[in-house]
Symmetry: C2
Subunit: 340 residues, 2 copies
DNA sequence: GCGACTTCTGTGAACGCTCCCAGTTCGGGC
DNA sequence: GCCCGAACTGGGAGCGTTCACAGAAGTCGC
């Protein structure tokens, strides 16, 4: 019985069995709370587990069950955006609570460099997780393709442009953008500009399309400026450009609250009063929106619900249900504050 | 050879071996890039891997190697704080980059409800991770104790009050608070208040202690207000209380930038000009600091470096090195902006 | 008193890897 | 021609579980 390799100090199911005077099988039955275990055996096993300090070896279990009871969340954001995007936290908590209720463990994997991509792909396909939720994937994202090919149950939050075969949840960006632009027009604004971002994703394109639609004949391409990120800094840059090309504008739709916050500071610097001279609206209803002066009118995005729904899509697939491949769109609401 | 159970569609190392016309052992050697593999065998195996679409089963590997090449990050924050704390993102990226370089996978586990605690504990002790970094643990945190007892290599970011035996990295909150308070005094302020938070952790207590120390004889307990969270909302509440009890104050040290941002809005509402009437300083040098009007003078916290250092402490333990049990303190710097 | 259940238990056989030992082959050096 | 070490390969054993099956013991109705 002498151990030939490392003595392996950890207690195994056999140690528990020996201590409790029963067999492996019975211990396993107790561990998995199956029926057909006598009360005496159960208590003896439970005591033994406590005495030898046993904890189940996950690797051995996963090997035979082919499941890990874990679901991955892939966050693939450039540095700055990840730090700023206020929705990610809410989405994450929504996912976590849905998984938690189903007794699945959420494990978040961040991709921050090219090195990370291969490692994460291996982690996912290697069986560490049973399913995966991907947020903010973008066109050409290699991880998305790895997942699509591997056939692991998955769901996107937000629709990636070029990956088919995976369900997703999102909001109807186009309608929301159209609605808030219309409301802005209804306040009497006539020369409305837009700071657009994220045009490499559906979400960004749809916000722009909704804006265009709302303006109809009045649309003027000169009043749209495209910036690279949904960030405060991009908002500053975008607003400067807009003010320079069209100093006569009287309304601005920023594609995110962070952009709007940046735009607001530029307007203030330029001596334009908001909302008296220029009406300004954002998108997201993030923490930003209530902290600017004046607070922002914006589109409320149900971030927590988005996460929860995506997690539920993965769980349903794990139960073997057919969830279809289309998108699920959750409702947005316009929040009218003082900035427009 | 007929499979008796589920057909198990996935290719195994045996399939690869058969295809390449070599043995399991040789395939394994190629997989782990060991020496003593002939060029012919290597190319044959690589081709076979590609042909059968083989990916290594992590569970089987972990079972025999007793390692997972993964390190956990435990985030245990109440809802609101988690969403607001701007440092968490930077810490996370710091940890990730250090682990990534050492070819370890970071998996983040969030604890958001009591249900989560037991599951996360099982996940950690079950062998899913080789080590763990804990951020923002607080007194009595059960996860901290589970980790301490299990003996799994770990490191804290920020010092927990009641857990010994685990190394940690942090900043010298007391010195930093003293320094910024002194700078505030040097601008001629005489009645300086403080909005204190997080007094259930060392960090919060130390910031208060540093403030008290700097004031010396001039310290006046009436000028300190304690709030529950490091949040914008708490800053609003705290500042209202301070203004009511001591309308004559001319300086405020807020224990975080978020608190300071809340305080700033209250001061503005009350018609006090910052910095003319009241000098205001924060703590963290977060995204908040540069976006208030005026931008905040504050203490720069090296969040990314904190994360990186904590990860390195775990990696060192994984290599079998002795890292000691004390704390590592990284330097802070005062950033002087317009608010004081 | 016997068969048919129900309840409970033990054990062999995987799961898919890595590790290690025992070969086998090959090329020099004497 | 022989020996020896280096280079390479195959395969048995084992990691710690779960699963399926066989069987033991107890209960019940007739």
């Amino acid at each position: 019985m002498a151990a030939r390799r490392t003595p392996s100090t950890r207690a195994t199911i056999n140690d528990v069995a020996a201590r409790a005077g029963v067999s492996r099988g019975t211990v396993s039955r107790v561990l998995n709370s199956e029926v057909y275990v006598s009360e005496a055996a159960r208590t003896a096993v439970e005591a033994a587990i406590h005495e030898v300090g046993y904890v189940r070896n996950a690797a051995a279990r996963n090997l035979v069950t082919r499941r890990s009871q874990a679901v991955g969340l892939i966050v693939h954001e450039p540095h700055s955006l990840f730090l700023e995007d206020p929705n990610i936290g809410s989405i994450l908590l929504g996912i976590n609570s849905a998984l938690s209720e189903a007794d699945y463990q959420l494990v978040s994997l961040v991709i921050d460099s090219d090195r990370d991509i291969a490692r994460v792909a291996e982690y996912l396909t290697g069986g560490f997780v049973d399913g995966v939720v991907i947020i903010s994937a973008r066109a050409g994202d290699p991880i998305g393709h790895v997942i699509a090919e591997s056939g692991i149950p998955a769901a996107f939050v937000g629709h990636p442009i070029d990956i088919e075969g995976i369900p997703y949840v999102g909001i109807d960006n186009r309608s929301a953008a159209r609605a808030i632009t219309e409301r802005l027009m209804a306040t009497g604004r006539r020369r409305i500009g837009m700071i657009a971002a994220g045009l490499d994703r559906d979400s960004g394109q749809d916000r722009l399309a909704g804006f265009t639609e709302a303006l109809g004949d009045r649309f003027d391409a000169e009043l749209v400026v495209e910036v690279p990120l949904y960030s405060y800094g991009s908002g500053v840059d975008g607003m400067r450009v807009l003010l320079e090309t069209r100093p006569d504008l009287d309304g601005v739709f920023a594609a995110s609250d962070a952009l709007a916050a940046g735009a607001l500071d530029v307007l203030r610097e330029a001596g334009r009063s908001v909302p008296a001279d220029v009406g300004l609206v954002g998108f997201d209803d993030s923490a930003w929106a209530v902290r600017t002066q004046p607070p922002l009118s914006t589109v409320h995005q149900p971030a927590g619900a988005l996460g929860r729904r995506a997690a539920e899509l993965v769980l349903a697939q794990l139960r073997g249900e057919d969830v279809g491949l289309g998108g699920t769109f959750l409702d947005t609401a316009i929040v009218w504050r003082a900035s427009a």
